[in-house]
Subunit: 975 residues, 2 copies
């Protein structure tokens, strides 16, 4: 049966496939047409795709049979099918709270940010000159978080509130003296937050004590306390003044971490004003759909003194080569690819896109707008409280913002919950006699009526809402000492864009500064910046997926359950594993989850002492960081000159640590872009010495359909769904990093305290939500279903061909660093530019920046090898685009020759001065040793189509020295 | 009760409105905040908005009471409500055909063109330097149409197939000798096409004869025949070879018009190859949703010799000042604003956005792709035909492409139709024993099974589909003489963008060249380029609105019916009229409809001789053109020096033509932007002389809530929903031009031959679909419902204030041409730049082009007064944006001074050389008498944000002389 890619030749009604739909997907996902493929094969020097694969992947690990996945659905079929599945989700009105509340997503932001490929296909803004738009928006996010929390400095998002709390605990722990390893968590924290903290504590042997801070015996911990975590307002809704407690904890030498709520902080005294060291939470209710748990941006803010130890990415203000204000990622030296196992956090992919949505929500509403929303939510809660009391129940928390814990009078909470369910309402079950109700900005008068109906037990009659409202005092339902008096969001950006026309133009203006996949290829090695197809993206904002609360009763989530189960089983087939957890919401979280599972496995067999993790020197920085976080001791394995694992060293170390060997972490194909032939042997060696094999699946795009992690010998691997499986990168997240495991590890897959998931001996949850960022899983589901087994394999083959084609074209101009014995790279390859330093004063960064002048995003710079460029084209790019990029690289090589030959000076040439923004090129004075046109239009097609950097080269050192991470004043701005 | 705009101050729970939602719309639609409004009032010299209104609008015509429309819905409420309404539409599988078939809309085009404000908020590309993207796309459309029809030249869309056929008839008529006034229409044309042709014929006294061209006695018409219209394939599905007929008609001196189907033409010999003079049709099935009848782009193509008489806009290839290839609108001199009552067509707003969608569909699929789709549709039709025959029925048309006329054996067609309805299927009822079935690209094997089930009457068993397929010969089901042999869509653009990544980048690349409302204000007088809000736009692509066939049984369209009824009654309230027709799909069509209604009214009273239409000299060109088309004699009424109607002249002419007076057409406020005080008197004068008053409602944005056409004295008016009521302009359409009338005219509102609508003495249909472009009506519905009565009035007030504010700021720099006695303009005003010609060699066009360098779209140029600029800000623009524009105009005035003072030469300055595209500014040589920075960044904010023209000033004369209206070859292209 012919692949659907070639349907165009089926012409007669008698042909096979006459009924097949024509809106097939694989041919749209794959960049090149058959004739182009032939030309590429020829350039590579092979006759067929099969020959290419045979020369690229060791035959020993080739899969014996093709993927057992069905022929792909057409785009239309896919959406019909998914709509049918989605319609099985029941979207009830949710008052469950616990850190997730419904929100009115401004449609202008929905359409123009969340549903706009020019925003969602952006990469993390490591190249600031072509990323000023999202950097500005993330700076808005940071500013808004600082303002609302009253803290000094905030990062550009973390994965979720639970992991943010875990990160905060680690900051307390690492800042404290060694023997201070007790961390106290208040009972009024959200249960999933407590569980995430407990999970993370294990790797560090932190003693997490859950207790009621209002009555806790801190004295007992005055010597070993490193910090406390409180929730403000509490998960039960209580609003408590923590000023005295904070002083006390500080007195004991501990730090105070406050999990909080941005909306509440528009009315409540912010944590920064009562002395908190760290404030964190979920920004979801600022315009981000519930999404059955994610993706949402967690926020994280600290006191100034802690800023250099804060996890996550941080946008800062610096200047460009011409002194113009420019934004950039600050303090990158803290990140794992530098600090490796000494990193205190493994966070890499975060939630940039959702932070941008939340920031735009803040920009659109402004301080008065968010305050009005908070005030309305609070007013309605007060009215509801009065109504509930009038019905004879007790509100346990006298002081509240939006959440009530209701003690049900003369009846069980189950009755109330059931009555609610009958009206399509979810209340929070707390205990046998208590239910929780959390209001949000979507609540209407009708909703309140229904709620009072639910609480009208035993024949009681609810009061009239208008009468209830009229009966209330004007003052808020929390101590006046906690009323917020300080200003926030005073910056102009939050006070300018309140009409739809204005916010639309602001969104588009920022977007116009940012290069994304809508412009050109983003050939980032190890990042797999492939097509994020519209049909994959459409479902994620369908209400049936977008509007479900993660803790809704599971029988309301039948559609999700079907989709998640199918995705799990497809992942199992693709990887060769038996069980899958969809919980980790980034690759790094997947690593951490996998290693925790391995540890539990060892413990379950009485091998709790096995804690050595072998990690090749070539590994991604998250690997050692995750291992350290999982409580493992990292032992480095060398690589040989060809970039392969040094097998002798591996055997040596495996043997040496045999007693304590827990695992090896390998990336396959290697981070150097090569299918190492020794991989199966390496797995054997580790297994022989009692270790487990963890595979980092970041490079899975080179494997699918041709080999499988399980067949290679791994026991567990994570998949970056935001690489291989089409979740767009979103400018630095969201992502998903599910793990797949062999059955012996399946027992330990992560669980969840609220919604049952995971293995029968589940480890603590890795993420706050049971299935991580569930709302974006339809993207990967759709990709797999539309590609089908054959399409997925074709994609892999095409990815390999594209990389080898580019390597082959570039090989006569640059040194290609690593290939296998047949001269083949995998799906990516490294270009060595180190020699140019000495001969021309040109570093990798100069080439990266010069590529911007050619309208391109740089390949991955200086990773995994310093001063090199790693190129990954992916299968979605066409030969034409690959050629355009190769031509640019070759033209740049000529420009380097000119420096080498002394035709233009070192240090003052098109490379070292790159990129050239318009503001520089347009200036009346021009005293560069090269013409403007050469700077601007080094190749002809740029005159027709060019993406322009919006600032000149950004000064990193200056920014790190003068750390400013909130919006600069307009005066500072315009230069 | 306070307006929802000011909700921010309601803080306490006891406040009124505590339950009101906060996502209110009016404050998002209106550009300025209260403080800005105060500042503007001050500049204008009034204290309050009411004072402004009082000084602007004659008190005599002020509405006695506010609009009786409810308080506006919040955005969320609105979408909930509309979703509930939409869900009442039943989307059945449609096999109704008749020029509307379902289509697989490529999602990448849906999201990135149809749902993208950067495309849908564009204006008609009259400023080519900032419109090269859509001009290229429209050129693709024209090229595709030429290729597929085999004709020489095609326009950039007409309103629908029915009116396109009417336009074709007029071309035949006007090309022929006076006495040739018979136009023969084949019975196998779509019924709505026939009806539209009949409608249009009336005004010209063309004798339309409907007959069967296969047996027609042409000999009888050899002297008076001007042309014939045939449908190919026929509405009954028949595919007939019309070569001989075409020769015969040419022999009689007539022209041959072929209504046809682009998809069929990929397989059938195109009209151009059998001698057709004109080919036209609906391009809807190229990726445009059914939309209950529209909007869709009609195509229209002619032989080379007819090109200068072709109606509609035409994109052509020219060059810019530097000789670079550039696109533009060609042959604009044909348009009504030049030819007025001598124009052969009144078409103005057309269907640009939908033409772009269809063109992108062609680009994405390419020639092989569209051919494969056609082949599949044809194959499935052949299989279905075999299956139906096997069930004992007769296919009346042996030769077919996608449509079968089935003679139901031994049963009535009603039985089959009912059986189909039970399965959720619509078949076409043809007569008592015949049903029609038209297939399309969405049809699946399941669908065919269901269809055979429907036809399995009297216990017959349908054959197996695979067996049916296998039993067929490979050859198509039409004469081999009609098989297409010629190539089409050979241009590179149709053979390059077949992966999603590529089409996405192509779409975005074109978009990046086009200024739209996402960038800056578009202050086009008479065009009302206001916000097109996302919440208004979202519903139009909901399947419940998008996927309904216009001729679906009315009981399946309950949702549409509710929405249309509500919109009609809101329009009635807003205008003060009694009855509304939503059929006309542009303003010009509204004029034509209104005048036809007036004529029918006169006829009904035995006054058929009343045919004089008074039209002020200041009227828009469509007015006289429409009047002429409605069979009226145009008599011009003068204006005085203040731009007001010359009342003496009016009385004079009304009296002089009293016997024959049919109507006056007035625009209010006048096209000069003034509320004339004599308007009520003018209406009286006309009424006294037996005439009716037609009001052109293009300027309704200045009236709503403050006055009403009916109160002023009009009998009928049209509304441009694409101006006042937020339908986005789409780069030149879609639009809607409903008419509202007093009850005495209601009887005559246009009807429809297929679906009942209109008055009890309905005139023939004005549009092919019963409610015109029904799918975009939710936009206007939503706008009205969200603004509410109060919000609509506020919008009008704000529009008046904004215009007067700008006029006031500019008055010390430019002469403002017309104001009322209080010095007030209406919602727009004219800036006189005529004096600069003599003193500086500067014309309006130079200022218009120079504004591009400031990042702005020009105001309306040289209309209604030559060499002036007419500015309309709308209520959605903020004071900040108005100031930015005024600052630009003031800066330009300085630049003019510099020429006047001789500081820079006439004819070689920033104005005459404007605009300055990057390619010019970046050139190494610079020998202009002014610096680059002055050309590029005349004001500072442009360094931060500037929209760049992509070519230099386009040479209009060259383009008209060397008319090329298809894609140029790549060699011609890159310069
Ligand atoms: C090899 C490798 N491992 C792990 C990661 C971390 O994945 P994530 O960013 O999803 O946390 C990356 C990300 O680039 C990677 O390339
Ligand atoms: C005063 C006036 N009348 C009529 C029209 C024609 O409307 P449409 O373009 O919708 O046919 C216009 C359009 O600009 C106009 O300004
Ligand atoms: O969507 C834009 O690329 O402007």
């Amino acid at each position: 049966k012919p692949s659907r890619r070639s349907h165009h030749t089926d012409a007669s009604p008698t042909a096979a496939g006459v009924f097949a739909p024509l809106d097939t997907f694989a041919r749209r996902h794959l960049g090149s047409q058959p004739a182009e493929i032939q030309a590429m094969l020829k350039q590579v020097g092979v006759n067929t795709v099969e020959e290419l694969v045979a020369k690229t992947i060791p035959s020993a690990i080739r899969s014996p049979k093709p993927l057992a996945l069905k022929e792909g659905f057409s785009e239309r079929e896919l959406l019909h099918r998914l709509q049918a599945i989605a319609s099985k989700n029941k979207v009830y009105r949710s008052y469950l709270g616990m850190g997730y509340t419904d929100t009115v997503v401004p449609n202008v932001i929905l359409r123009n940010v969340l549903e706009n490929p020019a925003w969602y296909t952006q990469y993390t803004p490591y190249q600031p000159e072509i990323s000023q738009g999202r950097l500005e928006s993330l700076l808005n996010f940071q500013t808004m978080v600082c303002d609302l929390t009253g803290m000094s400095i905030a990062n550009a998002s973390l994965l979720d509130e639970g992991t943010a709390a875990a990160e905060a605990m680690l900051m307390c722990f690492s800042a404290a003296k060694r023997d201070r390893s007790t961390f106290i968590v208040d009972v009024s924290c959200h249960p999933q937050t407590i569980a995430c903290v407990q999970c993370r504590a294990e790797g560090f042997n932190i003693n997490v004590v859950v207790g009621d801070v209002r009555s806790f015996d801190f004295e007992a911990h005055r010597k070993d306390l490193c910090g406390i975590l409180i929730q403000y307002p509490g998960t039960d809704g209580a609003v408590v003044d923590y000023k005295a407690l904070t002083s006390k904890i500080h007195g004991y030498g501990g730090q105070v971490v406050v999990a909080t709520d941005l909306l509440a902080l528009t009315m409540l005294k912010p944590p920064g004003e009562f002395g908190a060291d760290i404030a964190l939470g979920n920004s979801q209710r600022f315009g981000v759909p519930l999404g059955y748990g994610g993706p949402h941006a967690a926020f994280f803010a600290v006191k100034d003194e802690h800023k250099r130890r804060m996890p996550g990415r941080l946008v800062g203000v610096s200047k460009d080569a011409a002194g113009k204000t420019a934004f950039r990622l600050s303090l990158q030296t803290r990140e794992q690819h530098i600090r490796r196992e000494k990193a205190t956090s493994n966070i890499c992919t975060a939630q940039a896109l959702l932070a941008n949505v939340a920031a735009m929500y803040g920009v659109y509403h402004g301080p008065e707008g968010v305050r009005a929303i908070a005030q309305r939510v609070h007013n309605l809660t007060a009215i509801l409280a009065a109504g509930i009391r009038q019905l004879g129940h007790t509100i346990k928390n006298d002081h509240f913002f939006d959440t009530l814990s209701v003690n049900v009078s003369g009846g069980s909470s189950r009755d109330v919950l059931d009555k609610a369910l009958n009206l399509g309402i979810n209340l929070r079950p707390i205990d046998a006699s208590t239910v929780g109700v959390t209001l949000d900005e979507t609540v209407t008068k009708e909703d309140l009526k229904d709620l009072l109906k639910v609480f009208a037990t035993g024949g009681a009659q609810p009061a009239d809402l208008d009468a209830l409202a009229a009966s209330l005092k004007g003052s808020p339902a929390f101590p006046s000492s906690l009323a917020r008096t300080s200003e926030y969001m005073t910056h102009e950006v939050f006070n300018s864009h309140h009409s739809e026309t204005k916010i639309l133009r602001y969104i588009h203006h920022l977007q116009s500064k940012d290069l994304s996949l809508v412009h050109s290829m983003i050939p980032l090695g190890s990042c797999t910046m492939k097509l994020n197809a519209t049909t994959e993206m459409i479902p994620i904002t369908w209400p049936e997926f977008a509007n479900l609360h993660p803790f809704a009763p599971i029988d309301q989530a039948e559609g999700y359950t079907i989709m998640l189960n199918e995705l799990e089983s497809d992942i199992a087939e693709i990887t060769g594993f038996d069980d899958v957890s969809l919980q980790p919401n980034s690759g790094a979280q997947g690593e951490y989850a996998g290693l925790r599972v391995i540890r539990s496995y060892h413990e379950s067999r009485g091998n709790g002492h096995r804690n050595v993790c072998l990690i090749p020197i070539s590994a991604h920085g998250t690997n050692p960081a995750s291992a350290a976080m999982a409580g493992m001791e990292v032992v480095i394995v060398k690589c040989d000159a060809q970039g392969n694992l040094d097998m002798a060293d591996l055997k040596n170390k495996a043997q040496k640590h045999a007693d304590k060997l827990a695992a090896i972490m390998i990336t396959y194909p290697s981070t150097f872009g090569v299918f190492e032939s020794g991989v199966a042997e390496a797995c054997e060696v580790v297994h022989q010495h009692g270790g487990q094999v963890y595979m980092d699946g970041a490079n899975l795009n080179a494997q699918i359909g041709l080999t499988k992690p399980a067949e290679i010998g791994a026991d567990v691997c994570h998949l970056n769904l935001h690489k291989t499986f089409c979740i767009p990168h979103g400018g630095g997240g969201p992502g998903m990093g599910p793990i797949a495991v062999k059955s012996h590890l399946g027992h330990f897959l992560p669980g969840h305290p609220v919604i049952k998931t995971g293995g029968d001996q589940a480890i603590h949850p890795i993420s706050a939500a049971p299935w991580g960022s569930a709302a974006i899983l339809p993207i990967s589901w759709a990709y797999i279903k539309m590609m089908g087994g054959r399409g997925l394999q074709e994609a892999t083959e095409q990815a390999l061909l594209n990389a080898n084609y580019m390597a082959s074209r570039l090989a006569s101009h640059y040194k290609i660093l690593y290939t296998n014995d047949n001269g083949m790279c995998a799906h990516e390859f490294i270009v060595d530019v180190r020699p140019f330093g000495a001969t021309a004063g040109i570093e990798a960064i100069d080439i990266a920046k010069r590529l911007q002048d050619y309208g391109f995003h740089s390949p991955t710079m200086s990773w995994p090898v310093a001063n090199t460029l790693m190129i990954e084209p992916t299968e979605s790019e066409s030969k034409a685009e690959l050629d355009r990029f190769c031509d640019a690289m070759i033209a740049i090589r000529q420009e380097i020759f000119e420096v080498q030959e002394g035709k233009v000076p070192k240090g003052n040439n098109v490379l070292t001065n790159a990129p050239h923004p318009l503001s520089q090129l347009m200036s009346d004075e021009w005293n560069r040793p090269y013409p403007r046109e050469k700077a601007a239009y080094p190749v002809d097609y740029l005159k027709e189509k060019k993406f322009w950097p919006s600032v000149g080269r950004v000064d990193d050192a200056f920014g790190d020295r003068h750390l400013i991470c909130t919006c600069p004043s307009p005066e500072e701005y315009i230069q």
